[in-house]
């Protein structure tokens, strides 16, 4: 049907000359260019109002164009030194998300006691008064029975400041240890790379304005991860002046533009990183100002040869020779070619390009490297290249994050009574952190990292552990791997309260649903983050009128719930909020939920607009000025900030031999009265002995035999995903094709045409993708952007709830496309507690459905 009608018509135009035929109308054709003035027209009238995006984890400072109280268009805050006044495509979806016709408009309660996927909860509308009364009654029953520890809270997207009003306050004042963040579902493992090498367990910054070589590794920063607007803004210049290298098993949007694409076999990042490090050392291309040099100037790094540690004099680093001796000496490009399937010649070429640009190299490591069952070590291996190239904290290199001055909320200790204290210390967290096989050593402190996805297993193991569960802005029954476990777990929770904007998959298990504000356009808070050498804070404020009876979960709902608890005899939470929170300008305490939200925002941001001493960043003239401008930018990050022994590692140096990992692992082993090797074995790592303390290659762990499940499955994120919430927006569906290889209004599995030919499959076939965890059905697309033996599919589609566009059929719980999580196995990078979702850890088979 392609073009035929038009082609016919075009032929008609040519052959019939003066007559064209459309439908049944015959019309004369004239030929002149008619030129005349257009009628006067004018732009829309409105006001740009400052707020914050939160469509990904960058939390951009933005502005929304408001016409007659309606949120219409979006741009970056022009004052932002991080996004330069631009938003990525996510930001432009905010008005559609605000006016999603499937927004929950009033609180609702379940009338069908049966819970399960596909079972209609039979929600009916109720008042806020009834809803909060019900919640407070359930909580008071726990308190009466001295079971406050059976209250659970699951945090999804949150505000970096008002987060403390719920996550930081409710569990303590009410008394439960069972509160969990969503964070380990999608990213935490990558923090282990910089954490165990330079003592920085956080997201890095990159000096893209000056870099000569950008290495996008397991990250597609033109599309997702972090700082997307800044990366989009700078990418063309970097391409023009330097080298861009993309390491990704699929042809990502960054790989599409890069000078070099290294489509390695999934999960072999550590091997590639090791070979690059090997070349840099053998060829003497390491960053000598940072790492140091051989005492007599002669390079003793020769493939296969041990080096005397005493021969090398290190500067800002610790253990480069140990790293060579333990891991790198045999990691030749030829060896790595066998593991990674990347030609040795390309590895050499890329290593040399990086070495030549050093130290102005930014090795941007992302979740693709780290979010797999042995991801901590892959993250270390890739991140360590920044250390070796001397790009740490240097111009054009990789930087630690920048911050802004914010204030903590008042102390709450006086409001924690005995019941709460007992409850707060009652039992262990049910996510299993700190257990022998789950070191979860974020910050190198065993048992300190959240293991979000394991909460479902915890509930299933001990269904009585949580009697009342609160959750905000999360959708684990969709966003967590093997989500059937969440279906089963939440069906066992006696009383579940979900605070969300849309009736998501998780919402189907709720007893009471509290409709949340869509915070980018309706919330009130202060959001902080950093990027492009600047920390920043952005106001988040209502930009137009609220259409529905919705309330902000961390501020308004907490206030109203506290009031309900007070009316039922427990006043500590309300007393804390109403007596301790004082307007920093007037000293006034809040009298209602809206005042509470604003005073909380003022308290947290006051150090920026009411500083005690002049700040080095933006100058603000008070609260009104902050609200109007919408943001505060810090001064630029100082280069070499942590040089001179200021890294927060055990040695205070950049550790190629991680004393920090060694200490953490030793602490964990000693807690469990065993050896580090035993810990590594039960946690699923292959390293033993000294190798556990250096960045090294661990071969990929794979669920499903190659014989039965021949394809490595590659999961990736859409540049239009607003954290799995945007699939109900027509514009998401319409422009899905901007994800390289994807189709609009569809959900395609990409397979190399050679594999398609072998299996007799073609583009457009309906196929079933199966793994040991489950199966999904979707469409196939043969595409040269994936290696034979691998298949790739974007995360995001496959909703069976959420709304009319996202779901195939909401009433029948039928999905549109398939949810990758349904086939991904529930596994972890146990050193960090992060969920595995990358690195080819799940094998799949593909059949015609």
């Amino acid at each position: 049907m392609k073009l035929t009608r038009r082609e016919f018509l075009r032929v008609s135009v040519v052959t019939a000359g003066s007559i064209i035929v459309v439908g049944c109308v015959s019309l004369p054709v004239t030929s002149a260019m008619e030129v005349r003035k257009a009628r006067p027209a004018g732009p829309a009238k409105g006001v740009w109002t400052s707020t914050a995006c939160q469509g990904c984890t960058q939390w951009c400072a933005i502005q929304i164009f408001v016409e007659d109280g309606r949120a219409v268009r979006v741009r970056g805050n022009p004052l932002s030194k991080t996004n330069h006044g631009y938003v990525c495509p996510r930001g432009h979806l905010i008005p559609q998300q605000t006016y999603d016709p499937d927004r929950i408009k009033v609180p609702m309660k379940r009338t069908n006691p049966l819970k399960g996927r596909g079972i209609d909860p039979k929600f009916v509308p109720i008042s806020w008064d009834e809803a909060l009364d019900t919640v407070a009654d359930k909580m008071m029953a726990l308190r009466r029975d001295h079971e406050t520890h059976k209250l659970g809270y699951l945090r999804g997207r949150y505000s970096s400041t008002s987060n403390a009003l719920l996550y930081g306050t409710l569990p303590k004042i009410f008394g439960t240890p069972q509160y969990f963040s969503h964070s380990a579902l999608c990213a935490e493992a990558e923090k282990m790379g910089p954490g165990l090498t330079q003592g920085y367990f956080g997201y890095r910054d990159y000096d893209l304005a000056n870099t000569m070589c950008l290495v996008a590794w397991g990250a597609d920063p033109l599309a997702s991860n972090r700082m997307v607007p800044n990366t989009i803004n700078r990418f063309g210049e970097i391409l023009a002046r330097g080298t861009v290298i993309a390491v990704d098993p699929r042809l990502s949007t960054s790989a599409a533009k890069a000078h070099e694409w290294l489509p390695l076999k999934p999960g072999t990042d550590g091997a590639l990183a090791g070979a690059i490090a090997h070349v840099l050392l053998v060829e003497g291309m390491w960053g000598k100002e940072f790492v140091g040099d051989f005492k007599d100037g002669k390079n003793l790094f020769v493939a296969g040869k041990l080096v005397d540690e005493a021969a090398f004099s290190e500067k800002e680093t610790h253990g480069v020779v140990k790293w060579w001796n333990i891991e790198l000496k045999d990691r030749t490009p030829a060896w790595a070619e066998k593991e990674t399937l990347i030609p040795a010649e390309q590895i050499m070429r890329v290593a040399r390009a990086m070495g030549k640009a050093a130290p102005k190299v930014a090795v941007w490591m992302g979740p693709g490297v780290a979010m797999n069952p042995r991801g901590t070590y892959a993250a270390m291996a890739v991140h360590a290249l920044n250390g070796l190239l001397g790009s740490v904290d240097t111009e054009g290199g990789m930087l630690q994050g920048s911050g802004v001055p914010t204030a903590h909320f008042p102390k709450l200790d006086a409001y924690v009574d005995k019941i709460a204290k007992d409850g707060g210390h009652h039992g262990k967290k049910i996510d299993g952190r700190g257990e022998k096989n789950m070191p979860a050593m974020m910050g190198a402190k065993p048992g300190s990292g959240v293991v979000t996805n394991n909460v479902a297993n915890g509930i299933l193991k001990d269904p009585g552990a949580i009697k009342v569960l609160l959750a905000t802005w999360n959708n684990f029954n969709f966003s967590a791997t093997d989500p059937k476990r969440w279906d089963r777990a939440l069906a066992k929770v006696p009383f579940f309260v979900h605070m969300v904007t849309n009736a998501s998959e998780m919402t189907q298990f709720a007893d009471v649903v509290l409709p949340a504000t869509f915070n980018s356009s309706e919330g009130f808070s202060v959001i902080t983050n950093m990027g492009n050498r600047h920390g920043y804070a952005s106001i988040q404020q209502p930009v137009g009128k609220r259409l529905w009876d919705v309330k902000q979960e961390e501020t308004e709902v907490m206030w109203l719930l506290a009031a309900k608890l007070k009316a039922k005899g427990f006043s500590n939470l309300f007393d804390y909020y109403s007596k301790e929170f004082k307007d920093p300008e007037t000293g006034k305490t809040p009298t209602n939920e809206h005042e509470f939200a604003e005073i909380a925002a003022k308290i947290s941001s006051a150090p920026m607009w009411m500083p005690k001493q002049a700040l080095k960043g933006d100058k603000l003239e008070g609260w009104a000025d902050f609200r109007k401008k919408g943001m505060y930018n810090s001064e630029a990050y100082p280069f070499k900030k942590n040089w001179g022994g200021k890294f927060k590692t055990v040695s205070h140096k950049f550790e190629f031999y991680s004393e920090t990992a060694k200490k953490g692992l030793a602490d964990h082993a000693s807690k469990h009265k065993t050896t580090v090797d035993d810990i590594l074995a039960v946690s699923g790592y292959v390293a033993r002995g000294e190798q556990a303390f250096v960045p090294h290659y661990e071969p990929p762990k794979r669920h499903g035999s190659v014989a039965e499940y021949p394809f490595d499955f590659i999961d990736y994120k859409s540049r239009l995903n607003r954290e799995g919430r945007s699939q109900n927006l027509p514009w998401y569906q319409e422009f899905k094709k901007v994800d390289a290889g994807d189709d609009s209004w569809g959900d395609v599995l990409k397979m190399n045409p050679a594999d398609g030919a072998k299996l007799g499959l073609k583009t457009g076939d309906t196929i079933k993708i199966s793994s040991v965890a489950g199966a999904i059905v979707t469409k196939l697309k043969l595409w040269e952007g994936v290696r034979p033996g691998t298949v790739a599919k974007c995360y995001g589609q496959g909703h069976w709830a959420y709304g009319r566009v996202a779901a195939g059929n909401y009433a029948k719980a039928e999905p549109r496309g398939g949810n990758n999580n349904d086939i991904l196995v529930d596994d972890y990078d146990r050193l960090s507690g992060a969920t595995a979702r990358n690195g080819g850890f799940t094998g799949v088979k593909v059949q015609k459905a």
């Binding site: 004239t30 004018g42 268009r73 008005p95 016709p101 063309g236 391409l239 994936v786």
Partner: protein, 256 residues
Amino acid sequence: MPKLGMVIDLQRCVGCGVCALACKAENNTSNRANGQSHNWADFVLKTEGRFPNTVHLVMPVLCNHCSNAPCVENCPVTPKAMFKTPEGVTMHDQSLCIGCQACQASCPYSNLELDETSLSGETYSVISFNAKDRTTQPFWADTAEMIPGCTASAVETTKRAGAASPAMNQFAAGDVQAIRKPGVVEKCTLCYHRTSNGMQPACVEACPSKARIFGDQDDSNSAIAKVLRAQKSMRLQEDKGTRPNVHYVGKYSARA
């Protein structure tokens, strides 16, 4: 008189989609229906070569505001509904349009009806047609509530927001209304309501990679003229003799 045009730098472009989204927001274009994309800005996408020497290419597309515009040439009404402004904009007067689609049929950059190949970016249209006798914002005319009494409907959302569509951008109409009527075609006006008032087109202003340059090609000091002098440029389907005023410089992929 200026000669308005646009340059799209493909080296800077990252194919993110912002231009097309900003266009939809600015011009209130509706969702795809009946073989019409209603995307005044869109993309051509291509993946070429064999793994691992694969190249993926993105080319943003919009009305080329041709100097020799077939859509104007073939507009059968008098005066023409599709016409050129003195600045070179290919403009459309809805009040004169009879909905014959001759413009769409004659435009080398449009299709009367798009099929599924447009969903993967093989085909596109820069002129779309609003079906006769039905609303041009059908998404917002739906009264269905997913959870009766609990979730909103499109109609209720629209009513509460107080506009024809909740996020409607109410620009002051000239030849082209903020929301078009049924039975007429619609297309890019180079954001005439903005550019005639000293602003940039929405797609240019919103582009995070600064890949788009809009301006007067005849003003030798303009950014667009400078780029066209300095860099090799190309236009789409030059062989058709349409003399487009949208030019492309640079290459999308460093490996192409």
